[in-house]
Amino acid sequence: MDGNSSEIRSNNIDDNWSTTVRFAGDSGDGMQLTGGRLTFEAAISGMGLATFPDYPAEIRAPAGTTFGVSSFQVRFGEGLIASSGDHADILVAMNPAALKVNIKEVLPGGLLILDSSSFNERGIKKAGYEENPLENNSLAGMQIISADISNLTIEAVKEFGLGNKDGMRCRNMWTLGLILWLFTKETNETINWLQNKFGKDNILAKANMAALNAGHSYAENTEISSDIIRKIVPKIKPAKGKWRAITGAESLAFGLATGAIKSKLNMTLCSYPITPASPIMHYLANYELKGIGIYQAEDEIAACCSAIGVSYAGGLGVTSSSGPGISLKTEAIGLAISVELPLIIINSQRAGPSTGLPTRAEQSDLMQAVHGRHGEAPLVVLAPKSPSHCFHIAQKAIHIAIKYMTPVMILSDAYLTNASEPWLIPDISGIKENPVSFGEYNENYMPFERNPNTLARKWVKPGTKGMEHRIGGLEKDSISGNISYDPENHQEMTNLRAEKIRNIQNEFEKIEIIGPDKGDLLVIGWGSTNGPISEAQELLSNKGYAISHTQISCLWPISHNLKNIASKFKEVLVVEMNDGQLFNLLKVETMPNAKSLTQVSGKPFRVSYLLDKFKEIIELRN
């Protein structure tokens, strides 16, 4: 059941052209930036693409050590590009440590681009190698471009008076030049960008341009081994419009803001820093959007309570965190459920338990999201499946929270947060406005009277004359909202709270299936596993397998429809990055005979692994 123990073979992604490039170096080496530039070059060619940065730990570390290596992977090509690639076709390693950490991510026969000058005794020792990997046989079977990138770069920028240290900073541009050449790309777009960034006559712009061109011409000139085949980037036609790359964190931030704006609410994200949830707070802080603010609280409990206070006062309260912080919010979320106020809770899941692996993705907080509170305390749990989908899920969450007066939890994860994909910038003015109608003066107001359709109580904010009332976490009379110790009332309120949430499945009646309506295998996934699953499904489907895929967005309440859908398949497989949590929920709710495929390694599934498992199940059955 461990995706990582499957052996590395071909990428298996053979139907359409795609390629995966991985950049690795010290955090100071500018690998994220270089990867970003290549991503952009692919994007403007109209290709599908997916990127993922990979940090090993939370803190920086001495240069040249393995635990200081950070990397960035980008995959682009034709057709469906939903995952950032199982393995890299090309690895750029700026030093021995980067090679050591990342070599197992490269396909056999893949291309390594190395800075030979860093493979000196000191660098090799720092990386923990016993001997120089370029000199023993350990890289056999790989294609290697080993150039003295350091010196070639320093040489190229010398004329601008940059010292060695500053010169070294341009190594990434030299490398990018070489890679652009590999993909038969010119340097002009990047040069424009550099000039925009630094100013045309800036010395750094000039030095970086010189390094870029040097790398490009180095490749152009015969020095590169002739058996390295230059890859030709195809031209593809995606939808018309203005595009950008978007990460899950940005997409969530945009979605939240859009949802609040369309509801005509001021919004405050109340949060406390934690990896990997913080970027959402950082983005919103930076945007300085009308009516939208962030509040950094003293801890996660305060953050959650403040967010509830925001909603109580008639704003939109949002709170975000990851595992340890979400655990701390448990009690306060229970209050929000009890007083029936809208609240958005974002959990950027990371690998647990406890502090776990803070930078790694996992989906192991689902059970906690659904059942992790004391008492019968139901809420809504949604999960976006891709960076761009975050934008929709955030809006949907707000819509539900307001319409049903309920907390909604969004389960994102460390992968979604940082992964990016191309995004057609939406026309915000085209999104429907849906202003909240707060309760106004009404002589017969009863704080817990409900809308018979949604079972929602009315949202009445302080400041509304004549509607003064009290709410709290003690059990309330089902109409007046006054404290009630009556056993029958408690039963009724328990039922009402459950029913209100159960009904919300109507909002998710349409369950999108990729593939035929019936067949041999239905794969059910949720969240960030969408990438690898959809690719595996498409590949098998193209080969004639009767396989379908649904990635469910609403994890609680579970739609009854799912049962009908699943009943038309011989086998149902639930794929997730935990020990089988959705699988267990589905067993209870709908389908006792589903199977489970899990992985808890902090890393995303590999497409090739899924492919094998799917085939196995289908073939066994037939």
């Binding site: 970003g36 952009f40 960008w193 018309k240 419009g241 203005k242 595009w243 950008r244 945009f254 803001a257 859009t258 704006i261 001021n266 405050t268 945007y287 300085e288 959007l289 009308k290 009516g291 939208i292 603010g293 509040y295 609280a297 003293e298 801890d299 409990i301 305060a302 953050a303 959650c304 309570c305 403040s306 967010a307 509830i308 206070g309 925001v310 909603s311 109580y312 006062a313 704003g315 009690e331 306060a332 209050l335 910038i425 915000i428 003015s429 003066y441 002589e443 904010k461 302080p462 400041g463 004359k465 004549g466 003064e468 009332h469 009290r470 709410i471 709290g472 976490g473 003690l474 404290i483």
Partner: protein, 335 residues
Amino acid sequence: MSINTEPDKLKPTDYASDQEVRWCPGCGDYAILNAVKKTLADKQAKKENTVFVSGIGCSSRLPYYMATYGFHTIHGRAPAFATGIKITNPKLDVWVITGDGDSLSIGGNHFIHLFRKNLNCQVLLFNNEIYGLTKGQASPASRIGTISPSTPSGSLEAPISACELALSSGATFVARGVDTAIKKLVPTLSKAQEHVGTSLVEIYQNCIVYNDDVFKSFTDKSVASEKQIHLEHGQPMLFGENNKKGLAINKDYSSLEIIDLEQNEKEISRVLVHDYKNKTIANLLTQMDQKSMPVALGVIYCVEKPTLDNYYTEKLNQHNNEISNIMEKGQTWTI
């Protein structure tokens, strides 16, 4: 809840909700409730703009008894709720109702950060030096040796002083009152409400069931004049019968001492004049030992500083970006 029948002038009773008050008979909370209603009536506070936010405890039930908006939240966290409320609608007049357990034990962190942030609200701390609602365990405000169900042979730990803690956390208004001394309490609450910033009013509240008479040594009528000093800004710190005693700072500045003016008339010059902007003296006033010294009541400390809600909303008002513009910032490409 009828909007039209509101009388021209609101009486204290107009601030009472329709819920029966459920404290133990004789509990000091009743008196405080009355003082609060009277304060609101004195100010003709708008019910709809007044919000009582509380944690959990006997004291924290107060919001149910007010005809204003009210939010009975969870244990110790009322300041955090108040923050969310005020940054969303700074026009609301927010009263945080809390007990010594609620604010000094589980809620300690939010308590100190509220003062640090200086949210414009009032904190009424009902200090009965005990956990009332959970049947009388020692709280962080309980004196050493307090016998309680969890400390049957007497509590071990030194009590914490709410006022001192608040001062060190950056509080801009610190005051004290006594539950049943409603005539003194109402003006203090009134000043707290007027202060722009977080106002702490620590109210000594008698829990008749679990900690009866713990404040008797200074609240009892027979000793009140000798054991209480009522501070007035700009006035000398005099107390006792015929104001024949005064407070002065001792030689090494380590504490205050009592000057008996009857015996040492000349030392009147050493008697401090209350300057509620002086933090050093405020600290010493809150640190006075109840056995040998009077208890300082009234407004101990008061300074002005920017408030969080004001800061926050000012900043928010400067936010001018449109989402569509922000989305298009950075690298884009058109197809």
